[in-house]
């Protein structure tokens, strides 16, 4: 029962002097949605492409669906679905034609209608690929990953460049896959997306996994405090903000300030008092209290924000 769908041990990949993937290990069980998070260049895509069999590793073991990826690549490819980062499509084919073409490359395939409905592209089925919007192309590239009814789906930054509505559409498609018992490996740099979709996440930076667990665990392990976030036209060093009553840590970027506090009422009133003293109450914007997020986890562990 419990053979991992993906098992990675001590994976290393270097490009010349750069170590893109530095000795990472993890395993993923069936019908898990597993997210790999990290900034651009952290090694996400390299890792995924090794798992997909598109690149070879320098060292380490990768087994997919119980098969060694280096040896049984063809067998594995029949059972996995892959969405690449840049939608690489054939512009002069229609949506249903390109899906039919790809379905023809596998021994087993789903009816085109079913695939189209998963990604809500039914109405565009007779549209030429080149005439699709960016969001539609992105959804089509996800659909192409599903034509062979795969047991395991790889999605590499599937929502990058999508508008919020299209993004939500894709999220529900991914939740659909999970309920069908598929295992989903997703890379993203949207923390909100990872929190919403993933059962477990691994945070990767400079080729190393620096944290792994359920989003809730990661947040709880790193934060007991909550965050007060606001925008204020008042430049002060982080040390100043940390000196406010109750504040444990602070992070600033321009006028944006995030204060982590164990005692929200005390810290909050200190912030309000400061704004009043400096005569800046009118400039205090977007003030809110929130639970810590994965974004905060990343910020705490790496000292940097994830940027697009």
């Amino acid at each position: 029962m419990s053979i991992p769908v993906i098992e990675v041990k001590n994976l290393v990949k270097t490009y010349g002097p750069i170590t893109a993937v530095n000795n990472i290990s993890f395993s993923i069980m069936q019908s898990e949605v597993f997210g790999m998070l990290g900034p651009n260049g952290a090694g996400k895509t390299t890792t995924v492409e090794i798992l997909e069999g598109l690149r070879s590793a320098d060292s380490g073991q990768v087994s997919i669906l119980g098969m060694n990826v280096a040896k049984a690549s063809d067998k594995i490819k029949q059972k996995i679905g892959i969405q690449l980062q840049a939608p690489s499509l054939l512009p002069l084919l229609k949506v249903d034609e390109i899906l039919d073409t790809f379905a023809g490359l596998y021994q087993r395939s789903l009816p085109i209608d079913q695939v189209l409905s998963i990604v809500s592209l039914e109405e565009s089925r007779h549209v030429l690929v080149k005439n699709l919007s960016g969001g539609q192309q992105q959804r089509l590239s996800v659909a192409m990953a599903l034509v062979n009814d795969p047991e395991l789906v790889f999605l590499d930054e599937p929502t990058t460049g999508l508008d919020p509505q299209a993004r939500r559409g894709l999220w529900s498609a991914i939740e659909n896959m999970k309920t069908q018992g598929k295992t989903v490996f997703i890379t993203t740099h949207y923390m909100e997306e990872a929190e919403r979709l993933c059962d477990r996440v691994a945070i990767i930076d400079y080729g190393k996994i620096i944290a792994m667990g359920t989003p809730g665990e990661l947040i709880k392990n790193n934060f007991e405090e909550k965050a007060i976030q606001f925008e204020l036209e008042y430049q002060a060093p982080e040390a100043f903000w940390m000196s406010l009553p109750g504040a444990i840590r602070a992070a600033t970027e321009g006028n944006d300030v995030v204060l982590y506090s164990n005692n929200i009422p005390v810290t909050m009133s200190a912030v309000l008092r400061l704004a009043e003293e400096k005569n800046l109450t009118g400039q205090l914007r977007d003030l809110r209290v929130r639970e810590a997020t994965l974004e905060d986890v990343f910020l705490k562990i790496t000292g940097r924000r994830i940027r697009e």
Partner: protein, 360 residues
């Protein structure tokens, strides 16, 4: 077979939606044929405008001017010497023939009479034709006047069963050119797929690389056959060019030629990173080949030092075999040599393309 079929079908669907590809594959060769066909169509009734200045009213002058009028390639106009010379200098006439007033009397006195020909030596071809025609007329006149019996008569026998017109020469050349284009550009989609990561996407499926290549080559072969059928039909219906040789051999050649040039195309772009950089490489091969292979005009027109180049190009052999099979033109090389050279290019190109083609 299923992945192969799906890829071939997908290629055709894309092709028929690509107006540029359609134009260059089907309309361009026809356009070429029609333009050249019209340009050369006047070739069979070449005529030269010549001026005649007959200052001699005797029987000799009249006879000479009458024989001149009967030469089919001459269009004769008469006038005074001054008028005629002006027209010659203006380029309206190719030659002026002057029969001096004293021709009859000179002959009667037993001397040699002179008939003067003015011509422009810059007009090499026409001058030679005119001068030799006039020479023949003069000889004939000599024979008649001196009443010598004819002992040698030239009997003309063409070794060509069919009288080859320019268009007959041209159509097989256009067929060869079209195959050159179709073949050399055949690898371009692969470069585009590599550039746009379509090959990478295919690499994520169980599809084999060999299946991708075979499907692309098969698609080109079918396209080449369709293209050849169109060219041959238009040549037949518009210009009355008939295929006299074997159709089976002809289409065998279409396939061999396409395979050769597709392989050469793959080799040419094997290292090109983008379609933009692949295009000039293809053109660099295409244009010299087009003009040096004798597909549009006989290679006799080319200087001798170019011959080794001409004899190295595969298009020379393809054009030559097409001419042999379609219109039974005189071979440059025996058929077996042609086929061997084409096959040689094919094998070498395939081996090198496999060795050098970059997939990522």
């Amino acid at each position: 077979m299923k992945p192969f079929n799906k890829l071939v079908i997908a290629s055709f669907k894309q092709f028929f939606r690509d107006r540029t590809a359609l134009f260059f594959t089907f309309a361009f060769p026809l356009l070429f044929m029609i333009i050249f066909g019209l340009v050369f169509s006047g070739d069979n009734d070449i005529s030269y405008d010549v001026g005649l200045v007959n200052q001699d009213n005797s029987i000799i002058g009249t006879t000479f001017s009458e024989s001149l009028q009967m030469v089919p390639v001459f269009k004769v106009s008469e006038g005074t010497l001054d008028e005629m010379l002006v027209e010659l200098k203006n380029g309206d006439l190719r030659a002026v023939i002057q029969i001096p007033a004293d021709v009859q009397s000179t002959i009667n006195s037993g001397k040699v009479a002179e008939i003067v020909v003015y011509y422009d030596p810059a007009q090499t071809t026409s001058s030679q034709v005119i001068l030799s025609a006039l020479g023949q007329i003069a000889n004939k006149a000599n024979n008649i006047i001196t009443q010598q019996p004819v002992v040698l008569k030239l009997s003309e026998q063409s070794i060509q069963v069919h009288n080859l017109r320019n268009i007959d020469y041209l159509v097989p050349g256009i067929l060869a050119m079209s195959i050159l284009f179709l073949g050399l550009f055949g690898a371009l989609p692969m470069v585009e797929w590599r550039e746009k990561q379509v090959l990478k996407r295919f690499g994520a499926t169980p599809l084999r690389r060999s299946t991708i290549v075979f499907s692309q080559v098969a698609y080109r072969l079918v396209l080449a056959v369709i293209q050849a059928l169109i060219i041959i039909s238009v040549a037949y219906f518009a210009f009355n060019v008939e295929v006299v040789g074997s159709w089976a051999v002809l289409f065998g050649l279409v396939i061999l030629g396409t395979l050769t040039f597709v392989s050469l195309g793959y080799l040419a772009v094997s290292r090109a990173r983008t379609t933009e950089s692949a295009m000039p490489i293809i053109q660099l091969i295409q244009f010299p080949m087009l003009f040096l292979s004798g597909v549009f005009f006989p290679i006799d027109f080319m200087p001798a030092f170019m011959r080794p180049v001409v004899n190295a190009l595969p298009l020379t052999y393809l054009g030559d075999t097409f001419r042999q099979v379609m219109v039974e033109a005189t071979p440059l090389h025996p058929m077996t040599v042609n086929l061997a050279v084409l096959a040689g290019w094919l094998v070498v190109s395939i081996v090198l393309a496999i060795r050098f083609f970059r997939w990522e």
